[in-house]
Amino acid sequence: MKRYSAFAIAREAMRHHEGWERAWASPEPKRKYDVIIIGAGGHGLATAYYLGKNFGITNVAILEKGWLGGGNTGRNTTIIRSNYLQDPSAAIFEKSRSLYETMSQDLNMNVMFSPRGVMMLAQTEHEVRGWKRTAHANALQGVTTEFISPRRVKELCPIMNIDGPRYPVLGALWQPRGGTARHDAVAWGYARACSAMGMHVIQKCEVTGIRSEGGKVRGVTTSRGDIDCDKLGIVVAGNSGHVANMAGFRLPLESVALQALVSEPIKPCMDVVVMANTVHGYMSQSDKGEMVIGGGTDGYNNYTQRGAFHHIEETVRALVETFPMISRLKMLRQWGGIVDVTGDRSPILSKTPLENCFINAGWGTGGFKAIPGSGWGFAELMARGHSTLCDGFELDRFREGRFVDESVAAGVAH
């Protein structure tokens, strides 16, 4: 792999940019790998990367039915934060946030991590109490957050109307080291690094069946033939239930659509990320100047990667009240992704009833921020059989009532 650098840009410019090599190889699948990962989204690719980097396991294939990063990883609004309430969440999300700080150097790919600060508004008395509680919990967990006053909110984000008639801003939970990153670059960076370690990233290869023998996984059936493996990781987000069925077990989650939209580009007007959970809307400004907007999930099971228009209307209506200046913005694009939502709104990082088959799912509306941390922990779980980062996120927690309840702390999608 040729390294990217300022010098490389100059060198390639001298030869009319004809010398750039392909970022990753597109090999034919082998008959067998030590590890197969299903799904080349951020979580699958990061898992493969840390299997190689931290455990020296490089005989790995990542199978993707479409194109890499074409699932939720390339469809999200890229908010990165770690101000969750429960200890297991704080551990994995904070690990993840800290890995984002050095990701560009680590992968030699500019992922444009921008720790511009994330602000979660309190617009009801309940939210004030809730966010204060989270700020105290974060202090104990070693995650830097603070509850700030409406005045400070206005200073940090002058375009906000803090005394709207219905939902005045009563304060906010502020995480100064949260922010955004470029989602495609995260997927591409991991894919390039995996390919450089000799792993096979195989696109347009859909897994249609999972083969087992004596309760142990043997391999997968794909649109490009049978492939064997010693260990299998299922990392397919919205399709998790569907793929788990192939392996013979069920998952406690449901697949629903989550939508986002971006406006025409405008001059810089907002240099923080704002989330308003009570009214179900959040917004940030991209480097290109577009306002990036998202809201809550659509209300029913859905595999179509598109949602209903009235949800967009609800989101935008709420945001216009809080940001009156966006009322005349034209919207450029709108899209949806299929997110896998669990009962406690926390992920599943776990062994499964099928031996040597592992599941990484349930990130739902908020797993972009978790990509490096989840990959780090899940790789350890797959390689060693245990990872402290995954502790608490087992599949059997629902049966035993050990929830990692984040549904109260984060009622909205992000």
């Binding site: 399709n239 239930g241 569907h242 069920r250 998952l251 406690p252 989650l253 449901e254 697949s255 209300g299 029913y300 099971n301 859905n302 595999y303 179509t304 209903a308 228009f309 009235h310 009962g343 629902f398 049966r399």
Partner: protein
């Protein structure tokens, strides 16, 4: 956007007049049930890629609950039926079979 017909009052309207209530035909386990039954009842859903039976409420109309048969991949609605039943009625199953030959659910087709 879905268009649903409420079998209780007969009104046909688009989805903003209704509210989805999740998977239908769950067995509601009570006291004396074991952990596995509670687990399935509280957390396990079929979440199919395809035919799905679900509960809906006509919130901005007659206010009543009813059931719908719908495809989660195409968003096609096969039909709606009253909630006072533990399984989809014959005419709904036939409507699904006509569109999805070979389809089956809990041994019914």
């Amino acid at each position: 956007m879905l268009i649903l017909t409420c079998p209780c009052c007969g009104v046909t309207a688009e989805e903003t007049e209704f509210h989805g209530g999740g998977e239908a035909h769950l067995t509601r386990h009570g006291p004396d049930s074991d952990d596995d039954q509670f687990h399935d009842y509280l957390f396990m859903r079929e979440n199919p890629r395809g035919v799905h039976f679900e509960r809906w409420r006509h919130v901005y109309g007659c206010g009543k609950w009813f059931h719908a048969a719908r495809d989660t991949v195409t968003l096609e609605v096969f039909g709606t039926y009253p909630a006072q039943t533990t399984e989809p009625p014959q005419h709904i199953r036939e409507a699904i079979s006509a569109r999805r030959p070979g389809w089956s659910w809990r041994g019914l087709s």
